[in-house]
Assembly symmetry: C2
Homo-oligomer: 211 residues x 2
Amino acid sequence: MTQATELYFDFLCPYAWRGVELAAVLKEGGEAFTLRHYSLVEGNHAENAKELTWRVTEQPLDEGSAYQQGSLRAFLASHAAALQGEAAHWAFTLALFRAHHERKEPLTDDTIQAAAQEAGLDLNAFTAALTEEATRRAELRAELDAAREVGVFGTPTYVLPTGEAAYYRFETLTREPAQAREWWTLYTTMLTSEAGIGTIKRAKNRPPRRA
Amino acid sequence: MTQATELYFDFLCPYAWRGVELAAVLKEGGEAFTLRHYSLVEGNHAENAKELTWRVTEQPLDEGSAYQQGSLRAFLASHAAALQGEAAHWAFTLALFRAHHERKEPLTDDTIQAAAQEAGLDLNAFTAALTEEATRRAELRAELDAAREVGVFGTPTYVLPTGEAAYYRFETLTREPAQAREWWTLYTTMLTSEAGIGTIKRAKNRPPRRA
């Protein structure tokens, strides 16, 4: 585990989706990644700017809540899926991301159940794990607190085994191994450069090209 | 000129200093850069967040002004130096950056005069150009407005001849050609990657290494 790159993501985020797809391709090629959760709604809310005044893990599951925007149900389901092993967790995570960002389905219970089925989960065990809601919330809280330690502010953020960590926002989805490797090498080269690069960020009126 | 990369900078900024030093090294190697001004104080002020409610070019030269923080005098001097040609402008810009960020001298008239001398400017012509203050302010305004068109928000920001533009923040000063070339290639590769990279930004609690 200590050699794996941690990948912080939120199901709400289309950039996180592309980041998880990138990692999934690299994982096939032998690169190790661990899935981790970060809540954009909790982390970027104005009321939480100075200190944490409320927590997504203490919100109701009501999808209309402005304090979690449907993300909480997806996070808890992700923890429930993780109990079935790493492969099951990745399959579920990719299935739910694709449902939400590729097929534009909402993060409802129906979508989550369909993703669990698509991922080949043991559905009875999945449902049982979801009913242990307090435990799933506690697992999520631990990861959100870990993200705060790192200073994650957006998704995807990768934390390399060497401790380097940065947000990586890109527009183009790839499932092509050579391309995924190239984009990953570019990112890690930047993070480990002797230049001590803190930020490269596109000027506001010059959006990145879409391939 | 159309083949040159535009480099937006503010004398207040230590990252812009390293960015200008980087460009100066690359320029020796044949890469073309044009110096351009961007005001961090004007651009990042809360009162200017939605629209421009005040302009640094309309502020008094008083160094204590919160609305220009000593940057205006340096900008006008930079335009005065530019009248003596490109080489003179680069020499003055580097001299003033080094005085302010390497030797920690304030951006006062004395420091500016010393930088002009160090850069080998014609001091009488320089002084005369500074007295044509309205013209220098108008030249500066044109560049600040151009920066707004690009959506510059920080310095250094480079605008490539192909139109790609991004803020590039790094910690390490280099005057070594191979290193400068490596760091520039990394930046331009990122900007032109088919990934469509918008941002790579270090997590808040993981500052970049200093070499």
